[in-house]
Symmetry: C2
Subunit: 158 residues, 2 copies
DNA sequence: GTCGATGCAAAGGCTTTGCACAGCC
DNA sequence: GGCTGTGCAAAGCCTTTGCATCGAC
């Protein structure tokens, strides 16, 4: 078999702390996210498809269970992009400050970072005694092309 | 004091621009949001319940259709709070800068505003040629009580 | 009167769950 | 070997849709 990555080790001990086990399926899911990188947003369905493509034997139900588990462990996090459905991505400290610029018309998504946003979020949390975990700014917008389309097709509403 | 008719007028002409009609149901839904205020987050189910309580005859299917319609017209907007399911709220210019501090453990939600966040979002949009519509910062955090619980229990089945 | 909107109920996605078996520790 | 995790399929939400009727314009 393939040598387990360092990810496997960390995952295993984290699971053991919770009285749970490291299975190939769980390892595969986490590895997939680590391999695809931090900016990747995957739905449960996409995770399942990719694992099958990699010749891993995982059921969709297990993918759902695993995504939940890894999220509850803080290794993954769920995104908040209503237009596209539920998505997950790798959690990391860098992602505490992790923002999306989303075209609400065509779905195009760009990522950006902004220390000042993190700062504002931290202030808001501190001011109310909350402990900040993560800070996600979603900027809903029209991309250049869709903005042009809108201008053409729409009469001006007030 | 908002005259009920004023909402109806604007809505009616907006609908007519699109070749659509003003119905009591559509008017009721919009009025509900205007009445409950801008900070209110309502699910389709909640909208339906409240309208029934107000003795309006609306079906849940129509509520869904109307929420979609009003959102596509820019009068309502969909929130992005994965923990709670789909919610809608009144759209307004004030809400271009409209942020949530959310306890991921108990679901408690606080709202806040932050001009610097809007500015950061505007910058990100401008830099890529996007036209900003709305800027929503979701700060995922632990509220004071849940943070204390976490510290005490360290870990546990949920 | 026309054509869009509504209500109802059925269908549709996506996600979760019950159960028997498989496999990690 | 015990007990958790998995796969499968059925059940569960939430949301959308087809069709006959109703009602805005």
């Amino acid at each position: 078999m393939v040598a387990p990555s360092s990810a496997g080790e960390g995952l295993r001990s984290s699971l053991h702390h919770r009285g749970q086990r490291l299975t190939p399926q769980r390892q595969r899911v986490l590895e997939l996210f680590q391999r695809t990188g931090e900016g990747t947003h995957l739905s449960a369905e996409q995770v399942h498809q990719r694992l099958l493509r990699d010749r891993a034997r995982v059921s969709l139900a297990t993918v759902y269970r695993t995504l939940r588990l890894l999220s509850s462990m803080g290794l993954l996090q769920e995104l908040e992009l209503p237009e596209g459905g539920r998505r997950f991505e790798l959690a990391s400290d860098a992602h505490r400050d992790h923002h999306h610029l989303l075209c609400i018309r065509c779905g195009r998504t760009e990522e950006f970072e902004s220390p000042s946003v993190l700062e504002a979020g931290q202030q808001a949390a501190d001011g109310r005694g909350f402990r900040l975990l993560e800070c996600v700014l979603n900027v809903r917008a029209l991309c250049p092309r869709c903005a042009a389309d809108e201008a053409l097709h729409l009469e001006g509403p007030e």
